[in-house]
């Protein structure tokens, strides 16, 4: 996808399994919204193909729209409309909608039932957008930054609803720039930067790949690190980074931690602390892009 001379999404190749939650993770301007809006049928790709539930989002829009729920990044409602009114309207366009009032209550919007859309807080507008995406009981929902600007409770309510959607067999594709969100919600994460997918996989596999996991421990200074390395074997590296503070780098697993403490015990050394440091998705992202997320 191109806007003028800017390539927003280029050779972006990804597939989503039914019944899973997929997160498209990337910094602002990475091409997340462009990608998702191409799937929603708002734009046609200049090159390549997009198939959603086996259909062309533009040519087969009529067939596809009832089956797909869409949450826009912002707006999407009349300025003077009240949340229950708006949701009832969207529900009335579907054949078997959820009860709009139950959904309003579930998302904590019942307290703002008389408030016009323009006076809702950003978080309330977001939740109404989420409600509009799911009220028609779709097979697939696209959520564009569903928790941007939400307070922690509202964020939790959104996470719970996404998890319930997945449990009910709904396929969810969401964009986010929050690492913890991608890690907590998704089965598959696609990391996007500058219009390209730079890594894909489960949150666990992404953090395990090229892992730089380490064990740090503190004990008395001047231990024989060469002997410890021999004891631990298979390419483990041990370093005393400052007196009494050691870093063990290698395949961090339960045996490695046990190996370290057992060796210390054999030396008659009391270990004062052991800490396993696992790489987070954020570390991995920094490795991949050299860029920081907000």
């Amino acid at each position: 996808m191109r806007y003028g001379s800017t390539v927003a999404a280029d050779g972006l190749d990804l597939t989503v399994e039914r019944g899973t939650v997929t997160a498209i993770l990337g910094p602002n301007g990475a091409g997340k919204t462009t990608t998702i809006e191409t799937c929603e049928g708002y734009r046609s790709p200049q090159e390549g193909t997009v198939r959603v539930l086996g259909l062309d989002p533009v040519a087969d829009a009529r067939e596809l729209r009832p089956r797909v729920g869409v949450m826009l990044q912002s707006g999407g409602a009349w300025s003077g409309v009240r949340p229950p009114e708006m949701l009832r309207h969207v529900a009335s366009l579907h054949a078997h909608p959820l009860d709009p009032d139950a959904l309003i209550e579930r998302l904590g919007l019942d307290r703002s039932a008389r408030t016009p859309f323009r006076r809702l807080s950003g978080g309330q507008q977001q939740r109404l957008g989420l409600a509009m995406a799911v009220v028609g009981r779709p097979e697939l929902v696209f959520l564009d930054e569903p928790t941007a600007g939400l307070d922690p409770q509202a964020r939790r309510a959104t996470w719970d609803l996404v998890a319930e959607l997945r449990d009910a067999g709904v396929t969810v594709v969401l964009t986010t720039h929050y690492m913890d969100e991608a890690e907590a919600l998704s089965d598959v994460v696609h990391v996007v930067d500058a219009g390209r997918v730079i890594a894909s996989g489960s949150p666990a596999s992404l953090t395990a790949e090229g892992a730089r996991n380490t064990v740090r421990f503190t004990a008395s200074a001047g231990l024989d690190v060469a002997d410890l390395m021999d004891a631990l074997g298979h390419g483990t590296k041990v370093e005393e980074i400052e007196p009494g503070s050691y870093v063990v780098a290698g395949d961090v697993d339960p045996a490695l931690v046990a190996g370290v403490t057992a060796w210390c015990a054999r030396q008659g050394v009391l270990v004062q602390s052991v800490m396993v440091e696992r790489q987070t998705l954020e570390d991995r992202f920094l490795d991949l892009t050299g860029r920081s997320l907000r």
Binding site: Y42, R62, P66, G75, G76, A77, W78, E85
Partner: protein, 258 residues
Amino acid sequence: MTHLDLSPRPGAASDGAMVRAQALMELRLLARNGEQLGITLVVPLLLLVAGTKAGSIVDLGEGRPIDILAPGVLALAVLSASFTSLAIATGFERRYGVLKRLGASPLPRWGLLAGKTLAVVVVEVVQVAVLAAVAFALGWQPDGGVSGWLWAAVLLVLGTTAFGSLGLLIAGSLRAEATLAVANLVYVLLLVGGGVLVPLERYPDGARAVLELLPSGALGQGLRDAFASGAPGLLPVLVLVVWSAVGATATARTFRWE
């Protein structure tokens, strides 16, 4: 916590149900916007009442002022409902992402258009009923008989199509604020000098030749002729048909939903 059955059960409502829902929503929001209601009903009403004395202010020509004014006020009502109101509402719908959001719903584009049209027609029926009742109370005596009313209905449909498509043309291409300004400006300009209220023969020849070709002049004159003699001339009908075709084609080509 309320249990919600989120398991997929997709499906669009029937076309009729969707169009009806859209029209009702539009009417509900219109009823909440006092200023829009004012422009669609109160302005024509004021002009009708005040205008019965206009014979002494503006020379409307031969005949009783009320008989000349009543058809013009009906034309003005159509202009405000199908052009000004529709353009402004649609412009802001585009701005607020309502059109974009509805574009992802099962409501097809023709359904959205049908819903809007239905809402405009309901408003116009109310306008015509109220304005005609007040006009009769003020002594309006249309001479066109049944054929005059039938032709009036045809002209109102043509006028709604022409002004509606022109309103959507503006709303679909300009920013919401620019649409607001242009729609109101055009309304005032046509009201004052567009041949809506004042019969075309009262204008100088040069102006008249232009006004005859405007949708406002054609609708105003067509309605005056229909109510006076039972049928409009051929020219106003043709002018409205051409404006409808041009407006609809241009709108279909240029309308941007975002």
